[in-house]
């Protein structure tokens, strides 16, 4: 019995042995995943999941251009550059969609691939020996945060990227709380929002601006592609469990916390990147929600169907 407990203890403490880096990884993962999961709820309700995808790819040229100007990967100007191209892609999608006969799905595809290609081109032309490399763009390198300079806080050496992402997370959550009613209203009924004298377009671009900021902060940790997982998978899992937006936001946040922590265990046991571990953990939670979610759970549906067919089993029903 004691050996089992000892093994469990060893397993549980394994990611956090040695220095503080394990703690920083979990906090970094959580500070990135939390604002993503909350914004993802609104994206999901607005049926804009793939716009999140488009933005997460389009921030690349912005980051590269800003980096080429300031030559410092931790500079806040990178956020501005990325935010600018993130907004640019939403404008570009809207323009192609409204000015030509090309439909919205194709407009999204054209806009973000073009900007992403531009980013890749800039990377390969100008930054060959610098920190931005292709691998980092695709899957991110969360573990690199401990190589950045650190700030002394509460007697610990806190890495700078963690501080930046925490500030962005607090800002994003603050924005969601302040504009909660507006976001909720415009997500469900744009017409009603307009009748209250608030332009839904303004809300839309506000959301896109916050999203761009959050996405670019996550970019360094999880790369361009897995950001969508952080945006959509928690929100979708929560959506399968409830009909209420507040509950959905809460569940989505809990999902991001569990998957950031679980990711550490997957990371130390399978030697994969933390980002992909977060996605795998999140996906497992999604499958649980898909099967057992109180609203949409497959198991409840099967059960209901089974009992119904049993109680009404009077042979062929005549219509």
């Amino acid at each position: 019995m004691d050996t089992v407990l000892l093994q469990l203890d060893a397993f549980l403490s394994r990611p956090f042995q040695g220095d503080d880096s394990g703690l920083w990884y979990v906090l970094m993962a959580f500070s990135v995943a939390l604002p993503c999961s909350l914004l993802g709820c609104f994206l999901l309700l607005r049926r804009m999941a793939l716009v999140g995808d488009a933005i997460s790819h389009s921030v690349l040229p912005g980051i590269v251009i800003a980096y080429l100007i300031v030559k410092d990967l931790s500079s806040p100007w990178l956020l501005f550059g990325a935010g600018a191209t993130g907004m640019l892609v939403t404008v570009l999608i809207e323009m192609i969609h409204s000015k030509t006969r090309v439909k919205q799905d194709a407009a999204i595809g054209i806009s973000f691939t073009t900007l992403f290609a531009l980013g890749i081109l800039l990377v390969s032309l100008f930054t060959r020996n610098d920190h931005i490399d292709a691998d980092c763009i695709i899957s991110g390198e969360l573990t690199h945060i401990i190589y950045y300079e650190a700030l002394e806080l509460f007697g610990k050496e806190v890495p700078m990227p963690l501080i930046t992402s925490t500030i962005v997370a607090i800002g994003a959550i603050g924005a969601i709380i302040v504009f909660y009613r507006l976001l909720m209203l415009s997500s469900f009924d744009a017409g009603l929002t307009a009748s209250f004298g608030i332009n839904p377009k303004v809300v839309h671009y506000l959301l896109m601006a916050v999203l761009s900021l959050v996405v670019v902060t996550s970019f360094r940790a999880v790369g361009a592609i897995l950001v969508i997982a952080l945006l959509i998978i928690p929100a979708a899992s929560a959506y399968l469990c409830t009909h209420r937006l507040k509950t959905m936001l809460l569940l989505s946040g809990i999902h991001s916390a569990i998957s950031s922590l679980a990711a550490m265990y997957i990371y130390v046991n399978f030697e994969c990147s933390i980002a992909s571990a977060m996605v795998v953990a999140g996906l497992l939670l999604f499958i649980v929600a898909w099967l057992f979610g109180p609203v949409d759970g497959l198991v409840w549906k099967w059960k209901r169907r089974y009992f119904r067919s049993e109680s009404y089993d009077y042979g062929e029903v005549d219509h």
């Binding site: 595809g109 997957i266 990147s273």
Partner: protein, 434 residues
């Protein structure tokens, strides 16, 4: 094989492969754009990653480190599985297509990255795996090229053979079903072909930019034509063009290591944006010119109509009016009235008798009569055929008078039995009689 005997250099191989990929993506992309499933292509290209990793592992275990057939095969199977998962999510939950695609795209890709790292020691050459993520022409071997050629030829032939049913299913699957086409089977074949195209292109273009090669050439073609067969040919042309020139650029700029996929995408995108501006019918410039011409036409016709209404009571349509009359009739500032009349003079619709007096030219009279006739015919049509009240028809007619063509007018006249007066009792002029 013929390719062995040709002793191709690296650049020739790259050009051949990218031309073929461009053609394939162009063909399938046409359907992707028409069916509005552009983002499905994006989802598949990411979701096949676990299959690619598995293919590398299997072929390494079989002792043939990079067998393209095993890799293509397992990737295609995983791609199809991902589409089934998307369908299941949409069918069994309240989640919509965009969320389902987002989950599968990022989830499968995450699993792929996870497998890539944790199965590293099961693979002989993990370096080759990276070219599937980012696209790299240089890693395409002779066997890869053979596979690409064979797949490309088979696939293009299949699509051309199945063209009619594919087009029908893309536009109206219900109608196709009533005609007796096996719609589900056709869709399965279509998604299989799409997945194969994506898998084969991955190695050259990379995960993200495959969807660019699928969508952008086809969307460019879509701006240029309304006929699906033309669209497909143009899309193949743009795809191959972007493929060849992209890989040529990336191979010839040796100072920088420009990714092949990025170069292709940017070439394709420049085709698209140029076409957006300059396409003969659907281009932005063409549309702008058309709307400008239309605005000009409406202004001219409204001015001539006002003059006609002034001279109509006198019985002689060529009788003279003054600038002042026109200004009062249209309730304009003096300067604006003069400006409008100057424009009419330039088009020789009116001529001045002296400084103040002016009259319609035969040309101007004809235009004026046509517009007034259209207006009154339409009013009559609305009151007699559509049961409108006589005092409700003016605003409608005010808009349609500029748009009716001669053929429609003939039909209206025949329908209304060649009327002479409108519902308000005003005579309907006959421009050709004068």
């Amino acid at each position: 094989m013929i390719i062995d005997t040709l002793a191709l250099t690296l650049i020739h191989k790259a050009l051949l492969a990218s031309a073929l990929l461009g053609l394939m993506c162009g063909v399938l992309g046409t359907f992707v754009v028409v069916r509005r499933i552009s983002l499905v292509g994006d989802a598949i290209s990411h979701a096949v990653l676990p299959g690619v990793v598995l293919g590398f592992v299997i072929s390494s275990q079989l002792g043939d480190p990079r067998n393209p057939w095993i890799i293509f095969g397992s990737a295609t199977i995983v791609g199809l599985i991902s589409m089934i998962v998307v369908r299941q999510i949409i069918a069994t939950t309240r989640l919509k297509a965009d969320a389902a695609l987002g989950i599968v795209l990022s989830g499968f890709f995450g699993i792929g990255l996870f497998m890539k790292r944790s199965m590293l020691d099961l693979m002989d050459s993990a370096g080759g795996l990276d070219s599937f993520l980012f696209g790299n022409m240089a890693t395409i071997s002779e066997t890869d090229l053979q596979a690409v050629v064979i797949v490309g030829v088979v696939l293009t032939t299949l699509v051309l053979l199945l063209m009619r049913p594919f087009i029908l299913v893309s536009f109206d699957s219900l109608f196709a079903e009533t005609l007796g086409y096996p719609v589900k089977l056709l869709n399965l074949v279509f998604y299989t072909l799409l997945t194969i195209t994506i898998v084969v292109s991955l190695q050259a273009v990379g995960v993200v930019l495959v969807s660019a090669m699928l969508i952008i050439p086809a969307a460019t073609a879509y701006l240029l034509t309304d006929r699906k067969i033309h669209m497909m040919l143009l899309s193949m042309f743009f795809g191959a063009g972007a493929g060849v020139s992209g890989s040529f650029i990336s191979a010839s700029v040796s100072s920088a290591n420009i990714a092949n996929g990025a170069a292709m995408t940017l070439v394709a995108a420049s085709f698209f944006f140029i076409t957006c501006l300059l396409a003969p019918r659907h281009g932005i410039v063409a549309k702008w010119l058309k709307s400008k011409r239309q605005r000009h036409k409406v202004t001219t016709e409204n001015a001539l109509k006002a003059i006609y209404k002034l001279v109509e009571p006198t019985g002689d349509p060529r009788s003279a009016i003054t600038i002042n009359d026109y200004q009062t009739e249209r309730r304009l500032e003096t300067a604006e009235a003069k400006l409008q009349l100057k424009a009419l003079k330039q088009q020789q619709h009116i001529e001045y008798l002296d400084k103040q007096q002016l009259t319609l030219t035969p040309d101007g009279l004809k235009v004026a009569q046509t517009v007034v006739r259209n207006h009154r015919l339409w009013e009559l049509y609305l009151t007699s055929q559509a049961n409108y009240q006589a005092d409700h028809v003016h605003d409608d007619a005010e808009l349609i008078e500029h748009l009716l063509d001669e053929e429609t007018v003939r039909q209206l006249e025949a329908e209304l039995n060649f009327p002479t007066t409108d519902p308000h009792g005003m005579p309907i002029p006959r421009p050709e009689a004068s």
